[in-house]
Symmetry: C2
């Protein structure tokens, strides 16, 4: 069985939609056991609403809640018995194989990094998100864990993104792009110029710099970016889609024929909404920490929570972290021919 | 008369669409005289196509062309007789009141900064762009001139953006937001934390940090951002709109009723396309240089060029640069009561 700890109090609609998502996941995957952390009475009540009593879902009580407005330091130092903290502890003590949280991202990154530590060789963790594009899914990493990365951090994000794309998206030789303000090697900050050289010499399938306009074109499988720009772009995406919908609705209301037209177009619009919906991706893996940690959007719906748990399950089944260790290891040893052998892959909790 | 120098060879569709845009502008505004720089024969041919011979449009020959792929340094050092260079020289020698170019942005920023110098007190120029939002136009500054700004640079962008919003958009007390990855004062890099304090104490109508999701919400009148994130967001916007159009077209093709629906919705879609079209904004002022310099998009259409010239004209008529000097001046003297008097406003070329 695969065991996933779910932060029952994390997210704007916790515990209701988190519990609902956990129930959906438990019903979808036979090999899944879920532990929900948080206030026992509240979570029990939600489980009861879904007619779940025991079985594949259990509760681990946690008396405190990390609020969205808490600073990461506050969250970790002052709320040792939070639902987030208890999740991370369950993973640390190997009682579960993964953590899923839709709560405070900064707190999740800090709690995971400090308590679980990093994978061997990794300098800083990065958040990887699946971006829907015109040619399928692109992975963007980092989108907010590290707002002041060094070239080495960015190279490691490329290696981790490459692994993610290989094993979770089944891309054979993922193409890597570096988010910059121009395509030429000389563009961008000194950090990015240095990163360009590292990526060019990395043995990865590096396409070169890409610009903002390539974010949704599907030009590459992995977009390496600094956490600041990545985070801004990610949040901006939501607002532009919302803006388009508002504009379309407003314009269509003005005109009777357009209202009929919009009615006829509705299935097409619904289909687009599904294709570009964050709920499908579900959650963003925090790559580089020693454990599978999936961070969901604060406004996660039940479906998004369910899919975040699905991503956690896949990351465990595909041994993503073990492959990251391999990737970093063989990069660190790239200078020393002959090429290093793979490190042994530890077994997942049975 | 207002005299504007237009870089006849700058932009992906130069000289054709640049000349066409210049002709449209000359026809729209009686008080406008335009000098187009570039290869005389090519520009003359285009003017001839539009049946323009002399009158309000003249040509200044320039033998070289700055390519989009040239580095700013190459462009300035090696192409002294480029159409861009000649434009800037015309402004420097006060033969014209403004420059409009849709060419290489980096080269335009470098050429303007080095040749024209900066306004008194200004440390670095910034590119300001008009962003269409749900509640009208928002100014974002900087979107690419300065990818590694200090807090002081960002404060000055706020002051310049405030001036732009007051005098070109007629906003009474423009609200200012700082683009960051969270709303709290403690969020973001040290540079942004320091900038937050400067803005809070600046006397400007500072709303605080805004996130990517507020870029198109119209939450504030001026978005202050570092040139890297600003540039990425700007270019990304184009790609996401394109993606939406492609997706909508694809989905609608699948379904006969939706095709009829789309036909009925067409006027509404056209209206949205107009509202969100970069062509309306036309060009982005390079704020902070000692002269009015408007930078257009590389793919500028004739209409975009025409509107960039319109923006140049308005910046001159509204004495934007003189008001920037006032703003910077009164900020620099804010500590020394009583408040400083306005500096005298020089007259525009008659």
């Amino acid at each position: 069985m695969i065991k996933v700890a779910v932060d029952g109090m994390g997210g704007d609609f916790a515990p209701q939609l988190v519990v609902e998502g956990a129930v959906q996941a438990a019903n979808s995957f036979d090999d899944l056991e879920i532990v929900i952390t948080g206030r026992e009475d509240a979570i029990k009540r939600e489980l009861y609403r879904h007619k779940v009593t025991g079985g594949k879902i259990s509760i681990r009580h946690a008396s405190e809640v990390v609020e969205m407005s808490d600073s990461p330091v506050q969250a970790i130092k002052k709320k040792k018995d939070s639902s987030l903290s208890v999740c991370i502890q369950l993973l640390k003590q190997k009682e579960t194989d993964a953590v899923v949280t839709a709560g405070n991202t900064g707190a999740a990154v800090a709690a995971a990094t400090l308590n679980l530590g990093l994978l061997p060789g990794i300098k800083r963790p990065g958040i990887a998100i699946a971006v829907p594009t015109l040619r399928g899914i692109t992975i963007a990493v980092d989108v907010g864990a590290n707002i002041d990365p060094t070239p080495e951090h960015l190279l490691q994000y490329a290696i981790m993104g490459d692994t993610y794309a290989r094993y979770l998206l089944r891309k054979k030789k993922p193409s890597i792009g570096l988010l910059n303000i121009g395509e030429e090697e000389s563009k961008g900050t000194e950090t990015l110029q240095e990163t360009y050289k590292l990526l060019r010499d990395s043995g990865l399938n590096f396409l070169g710099n890409i610009e903002g306009r390539d974010f949704f074109s599907g030009k590459c499988d992995v977009i390496v970016c600094d956490g600041f720009a990545g985070n801004v772009v990610l949040k901006m995406t939501e607002s532009i889609l919302e803006m388009m919908i508002t504009l379309i609705t407003k314009e269509i209301q003005k005109d009777f024929l357009a209202r009929i037209g919009a009615f006829l177009c509705k299935p097409a619009f619904e289909s687009i909404r599904r294709e570009t919906n964050y709920e499908e991706a579900g959650g963003a893996p925090l790559l580089g920490v020693d454990g599978v940690v999936i961070i969901g959007h604060g406004i996660s719906s039940a479906k998004a929570v369910r899919n975040a748990i699905r991503v956690a399950r896949e990351a465990i089944l595909e041994h993503v972290n073990e492959h990251i260790i391999e990737g970093i290891h063989s990069h660190l040893n790239a200078g020393l021919n002959p090429p290093v052998k793979s490190v042994p892959i530890p077994k997942v909790n049975p």
